[in-house]
Amino acid sequence: MARFTSMAYGSADEMVFGTAKNPVKYGRDFEVGGGYVFPELVVHPRPGSEETKKSLLREYEKAVSDALERCVTLGFPGIQIELEHVYQMTRYPDWGGDIAAQTKKLMEDCYKKYGLKSAIRSTIADYRKPDEEDMRQSDAMKTTLEAFEACGAGGTDNLSIESVGGKEISDYTIVRQDIRGVLFGIGVLGSIDVENLWKQVVAIAAKHGATPGGETDCAQANVAMFMAGGYLDKSVPHTFAAICRAIAAARSLVAYEQGAKGPTKDCAYEDPIIKAITGVPIAMEGKTCACAHADMLGNLVASCCDLWSNEAVEYHDMFGGTSAAVFTEILGYDVALMNTAIQMGKAKDLRDMLVNSDKYRDTHGFILAPVNAYEIGKAIVSKSDSYYARARAGGIKAAELMRADANLQLSAFERQVLDSTYDALLSLPDNEQNFIDECINIYKKVVPGFKPSNYGL
């Protein structure tokens, strides 16, 4: 199977917002990564609206209409809207499909009337339970694939997912600061599951003329990052969470090896590393996702984005209109600034400002600054002989970078965690099979329901 063995970019300095080595065109005159940044709005339905298909359709109709209208009102050239499935939209595939079709109709009307460029991303909810069912043959798996089919048939432009393979192990090990288990759950099991899943997603996308978009390690690395939180939180150490992220990059990379084209998923904070390796356009979320969660790299993550997102905002009224309209406006002006910088030949200046705002604010921003993301990418592709080896290499490189830069200030506790995690990574076996055997032996005893056969092991 083909694996990335080299970098798409010659250096980190080439990476800048709005431009990707491999731009993607779809939707209504919509190109991502072709020298322009578009907003990507994500609106979630209010609690209760999921009770029936009719009420959910109506909720999305209002939200999408509000967003499109605000684009036209303020003169924004285009927008992508993500239909990030709530459980019911995947569990009942026709719901997700009908909402995609309805959104397409609204966008086509707007395109014909105003020329507003637009595209739809449908993100399927992966509700498989890794510790309770057959990950490859369960009803949940079949329904997930049916949901992809329905959305493709409904006319979505971009099919994406936040898959959960290996989560039973990573959940257990992230809260125990066990880097071996994280490497196993994300780097090995996660990669194997992404490979199996994305082969099928790519085939479904081709059947319907949709673009296989992107993956995210939301279910694992974002758990570590969100638990790490901010300066007052004492859940997961920040250095540990950053190493989890570097490992996650090697795992999400598998989707692009299987044929995903991007733009990637907004909540995949590993995306700067993915862009450096693959050249696919990336969606990112930062300060504009404060509606969903606090973010310690709110400016930095915009530095090489191609879509700029808000992660998720619940649909409701605000003083300035509905949340769909308000967040469209916030995103629209953010990207207008980036596009102005591109027009003025100042894109790299703005990129560097965004980076310096947050590079040393926290460990996640540090490792995802383009210069460091690029180095982690290089470490990953240098060990392409196995999923394990490259995920481990990414983790080790992230730790080395954090240990080496004096500007990244760390508490004594964080320094201790960083050093011990680094030592633990170095002490692991070099051989993938030896590592897998060791991990199966350990985690079968302590993680109820863990079935290696879910991953062909």
Binding site: P47, S49, E50, Y87, D171, V175, R176, Q177, K234, R361
Partner: protein
Amino acid sequence: MSAALDYSKIFVRYDLKLERGTKEHGAQSDDILKKVVNCVVDGDVDNINALVTEALQTIDPLKVISALVDGMNEVSRLWDEGIYYLPQAIISSDVMLEGVDLCEQKMGKAMEKKGVVVTHTAEGDIHDLGQKIANALLRANGYEVIDLGKDVPVDEVISAVKQYKPIMVTGTALMTTTMTAFEKIASRLEREGVDLPFVCGGGAVSEEYVTGYNLGVWGKDASQAPPMASDAASGKNWRQLREKYNG
């Protein structure tokens, strides 16, 4: 360019200002019970079995359990003071429970629990990490946990409450569109005449939502589960818990 910047003009590292230092290593001791305490405090998974086994050769299991609890209490203190993080608390709870298990085997019976807590993650939601953390902390604090798992239908929660008669029920959800099951559970429990705290939290679950239905008490995070269970065990009702923890 980066080296020339004064980052203190861009952000303030409050975490470093608040730094409490790291835990000093506990004094070495020949006293086997002190070793047991230190083993829990250090989260020493590798040695707890041997240490407790050795202790049980000469010491009453209840005294060994008491040492294990003392260790966990010290861990709680270190966590409260910000010296320990969650992983240290979780690992120590693993160590403590392994030790307790050995003591119970020696006694030939389980130690008396402070009460039963039923936990679940909402129907349609597979994000159960918060529930798992709450489970671990509740068990380490002496409660029997009936873990219904994730994606649990409303009927199953109602049946479990009737069967186990818990002092408290918890519900976890990541999404606002799955948390709506909580309201249905609360309503059904009320209709069945069950009056107990139903602690709900996680992800997008808001205080405003949870305090909008009877029985509901909003849990900010999993670490609140043991003190809430303690209050429930002492006889406080859901209104008193809501007054103490919410609002």
